[in-house]
């Protein structure tokens, strides 16, 4: 599969080249279903949307650096327009990040094969993928546009950025690969996992929760990639295979369930007029189909067994253990820490998913809009059902999917050799079926049938008054309240009381201050007297002469 085609237009004298190999094909396959779903969910009339898709496709299929950059920037520009249509405030931040990533990527593509090129690629692609510490724009920008675009941004655009990272780190820059490249990626990924999962538990807006979860999954994929890069550089065949399997399978699964969840969030917005978990509740009653599909998506997000999210997490844990088993004492301590972070991140993601379903779809409605919600429209329903059906093979026969991923792994790390997957969802399903049969038998043989609907016991509290049809909303846990214990024990320590992302505190604020300071400096220079300017020139001259004299004396 090494097909290249030249196109008629492009740079004068060179043209544009498209190139399809296993890696491009995999990412095109990830992109395809979500594009169809987003189009079904109501974006097919938008020209900018198709421009966005075209940009992503070009970046994935690029055969030369110019085409890659062209597609990448087209994608950024189109998505910027789409974000702007939704909400102008994050659009500026988004544009800034896009320019930063372009400014890192363009020189990197033309640099010789070196560590500097890798650092620039990692910065550029990482900023676009929402990798910590350059992630703080993502939870702001991704929820802004309409649901279909959010879906494609979280599921597709992030993958394109990761594709660029994979393409360069594993293929184009492979001759200069160093173990520390992998370690750097692992560190950034672990940070993303922790911050993304923690913020997913604490945020109140449904779409922001999903965007934070995207940060977490990007972190998981990057940890896998970093482990693979580390293993490839140190020559550990089994580990690099395992880690690559984890990263790619995670990308596949995330590309399916995250668009599903985003489209569902859009439908929630359409039906109730809000996506704040503090105003939702009980949607399962009015929107059973949406509820069932969202439950599926949330189960994937939480990486529960029998869902498509579990196999990648399983592989990733094994890869981390494999990495900790080799190497020196520092590697041992570091990778044990990584395991702890992955475990904590996994449990946080579980809490976030439970919170999303439990507060949004179960319980009592917290507003009249939530109580009066009507079920899915046809287009989004088809879109979500398509993605949900595609989740099934990833969930139940991950071994088969891994077989399909094999050519990609061979392309990325030719010597990789992963052990067979020891997670067997079908066996688990069989055992669960047996247990269910036994329970059913006991129930029919000795049990009493039937259900009776009564007022909730609620520890003996009385019924609510008649003017509160669903009871007092304040007597059920709110989204903020549910997250309070986590907030108290982890949130305050890691994010501070204001819940501002640490990246904003440590990256954006200093930038802002720097800007103010530069402006002040410029103002001072402008206002300087002739004498001061002369003194400056004189001082520079003296310093120069001094340097010259010292240099010659030495």
């Amino acid at each position: 599969m090494g097909n290249s085609i030249g196109l008629m237009f492009g740079l004068p004298g060179q043209g544009m080249h498209l190139h399809l190999d296993a890696l491009s094909l995999l990412f095109v396959c990830i992109l395809l279903p979500q594009t169809v779903a987003a189009a079904l969910a109501g974006m097919r009339g938008s020209f900018t949307f198709w421009l966005f898709v075209l940009g992503m496709a070009l970046a994935l299929l690029a055969g030369d650096a110019f085409t890659l950059i062209f597609g990448f920037e087209l994608m950024s520009a189109a998505s910027w327009l789409l974000v702007m249509q939704g909400d102008a405030r994050p659009a500026t931040l988004y544009a800034g990040v896009a320019i930063f990533s372009g400014a890192c990527l363009i020189p990197a593509l033309f640099l010789p094969v070196s560590s500097l090129a890798f650092v620039l690629i990692a910065l550029g692609a990482g900023a676009k993928a929402g990798l910590a510490p350059l992630h703080s724009w993502l939870p702001r920008a991704h929820p802004a546009p309409p649901a279909g675009v959010s879906a494609l941004m979280s599921g597709g655009m992030v993958k394109v950025a990761l594709y660029v990272l994979i393409r360069y780190a594993f293929v184009n820059l492979a001759p200069a690969a160093q173990p520390w490249w992998g370690v750097a990626l692992v560190a950034a990924g672990a940070l993303s996992v922790l911050i993304g999962a923690l913020r997913a538990v604490l945020e109140v807006e449904l779409k922001t929760v999903l965007a934070c979860s995207t940060v977490e999954h990007v972190g998981l994929i990057t940890v896998g990639l970093g482990l693979a890069l580390y293993a490839k550089a140190t020559g550990d065949a089994a580990l690099s295979g395992l880690a690559l399997q984890a990263a790619l399978l995670c990308a596949v699964a995330h590309g399916l369930f995250k668009p599903l969840l985003f489209i569902g969030a859009g439908e929630v917005k359409h039906a109730t007029g809000t996506t704040s978990l503090n105003w939702l509740g009980g949607l399962m009653r009015g929107m059973p189909r949406l509820g069932a599909l969202m439950l599926l998506g949330a189960a994937c997000m939480a990486a529960l067994p029998l869902g498509p999210g579990f196999a990648p997490a399983f592989l990733l844990f094994h890869a981390a253990i494999g990495a900790a088993a080799t190497g020196g004492i520092l590697a041992r301590i570091g990778f044990s820490g990584l395991l702890a972070v992955l475990g904590i991140g996994g449990a946080l993601a579980l809490a976030a998913a439970v919170r999303l379903i439990g507060l949004g779809f179960l319980g009592r409605p917290r507003s009249l809009h939530a109580a009066a919600a009507e079920d899915l429209r046809r287009g989004p329903y088809l879109a979500m059902a398509l993605l949900g059906v595609l989740c099934t093979p990833v969930a139940l026969v991950p071994g088969l999917i891994l077989e399909l991923l094999n050519p990609v792994i061979m392309l990325l790390a030719p010597q990789a050799d992963a052990p067979p997957l020891s997670y067997a969802p079908l066996t688990l399903l069989l055992l669960a079926g047996l247990a269910a049969l036994a329970a059913g038998f006991v129930q029919t043989r000795w049990g009493t049938r039937g259900l009776r609907e009564v007022a909730a016991w609620n520890g003996g509290f009385g019924r609510p008054p008649a003017w509160l049809p669903f009871g007092d909303p304040h007597t059920q846990a709110s989204a903020t309240g549910f997250a309070e214990p986590v907030m108290r024990l982890l949130g305050k320590g890691l994010l501070g009381t204001t819940l501002a992302d640490p990246a904003e505190r440590f990256l954006l604020l200093p930038l802002f201050r720097l800007q103010t300071r530069l402006i002040r400096l410029a103002e001072r220079v402008r206002r300087a007297t002739i004498r001061e300017r002369l003194a400056f020139v004189f001082a520079v001259l003296v310093a120069f002469l001094l340097a010259l004299g010292l240099g010659q004396g030495g």
């Binding site: 538990v201 509740g281 399962m284 009653r285 509820g291 990486a303 529960l304 067994p305 029998l306 579990f310 844990f317 094994h318 253990i321 041992r332 301590i333 044990s336 395991l339 702890a340 992955l342 475990g343 904590i344 449990a347 579980l350 809490a351 439970v354 379903i357 439990g358 179960l362 319980g363 009592r364 020891s422 997670y423 688990l428 055992l431 247990a435 269910a436 036994a438 329970a439 129930q443 000795w446 049990g447 009493t448 039937g450 259900l451 009776r452 009564v454 909730a456 016991w457 609620n458 520890g459 669903f470 009871g471 059920q476 846990a477 309240g481 549910f482 309070e484 214990p485 986590v486 024990l489």
Partner: protein, 320 residues
């Protein structure tokens, strides 16, 4: 062929014994607890009677619950049932051994936990919500600790399936290792939290503000409560099996050798009894800790797990 047949019979025997015996284990612990407190205690078979009574009762559904109300207990039960089937008890080499990876088992426990949490949020009242929020908090540290512990086991046993770990610890001469001591302490802390025993939660507690697990199942009744309660008994047995298999693997039978079964069965019963005694004595001698102290407790477990991994490194270079 004969080996396969024996393995099959051993698997079935294990499953049947676990499923039938789980309430008995709970009954024994309750009895021992009562004795330790100087009371007479309920009959040993009380949990069976409790379940039978719940089965016969009509199941009530709160009017604020959605259609999935009946689904969560079943989900929790099925996850715990599968976990029980996967964790070896009296023998190694069962047919389910290959599927019983440690990570899978952690995942199944997480699945059961999330189903219970959703059941708590289902009716939309304060107690269930508070219980679920606390359970989520405990789960965060417990899962981190469990994964870190796996590192120590995997390094010692060169495998990550529970069956393989048991076989390796039984046959290869590991000796008394500092790392395993740390790992045991950490594992016990996590097990106590996960099974809702005393330092973190009170299994017989009925004070709503202090409850975690009981608060989540507050609205359940009849056969759904029976499923949840039975699931809790299975979880306790599964954790005892897990600890027994990893830390006390001596004397476990071989599934393919039928003559090793009686000894394995007897030792298994003995180990369970010892653990039950230890648990009940520990429970009556400790007070329940504040909810916000539990993460510290589990955080210490996590760090002990990391210590186990680090000290393994010191020992690994010794070549012993």
């Amino acid at each position: 062929m004969l080996g396969f047949a024996f393995a099959f019979i051993a698997t079935v025997l294990h499953i049947v014994l676990c499923f039938v015996g789980a309430p008995l284990v709970t009954g024994i612990i309750n009895k021992l607890r009562a004795w330790a407190l100087g009371r007479r205690g309920p009959p040993l078979l009380q949990p069976y009677l409790h379940l039978a009574r719940l089965l016969r009762k009509i199941t009530l559904v709160p009017d604020t619950a959605t259609d999935l109300f009946t689904f969560w207990p079943l989900g929790a039960f099925l996850a715990l049932a599968v976990a029980t089937m996967l964790i070896p008890g009296f023998t190694t080499g069962m047919l389910t051994a290959d599927a019983g990876d440690y990570v899978t088992i952690i995942g199944l426990f997480a699945l059961a936990r999330s189903a219970t949490m959703l059941g708590g949020l289902e009716t939309g009242f304060g107690f269930g919500g508070a219980g679920a929020a606390r359970e989520a908090l405990f789960g965060i540290f417990a899962e981190g600790a469990l994964l870190v512990l796996l590192l120590a086991f995997a390094l010692l046993a060169q495998t990550t399936s529970v069956d393989g770990i048991a076989t390796a610890f039984r046959t290869a001469h590991i000796g008394i290792s500092v790392s395993l001591g740390f790992a045991l302490a950490a594992m016990l802390a996590v097990a106590l939290t996960e099974t809702g025993r005393i330092p973190t939660d009170n299994p017989s507690g009925h004070l709503e503000l202090g409850m975690v697990h009981e608060a989540m199942v507050l609205e359940y009744s009849g056969r759904l409560l029976a499923l949840l309660d039975y699931g809790g008994m299975l979880r306790l047995l599964a954790w005892m099996n897990l600890i027994g298999t990893i830390f006390l693997p001596f004397g476990m039978a071989q599934a393919t050798e039928i003559f090793s079964w009686p000894g394995g069965l007897a030792l298994w019963a003995g180990k369970l009894l010892v653990m039950a005694v230890a648990l009940s004595i520990f429970e009556v001698s400790r007070a329940k800790m504040r909810v916000f102290r539990v993460p510290e407790f589990l955080g210490a477990a996590l760090l002990l797990g990391m210590l186990a991994g680090v000290f393994l490194f010191v020992a690994a270079r010794i070549g012993a």
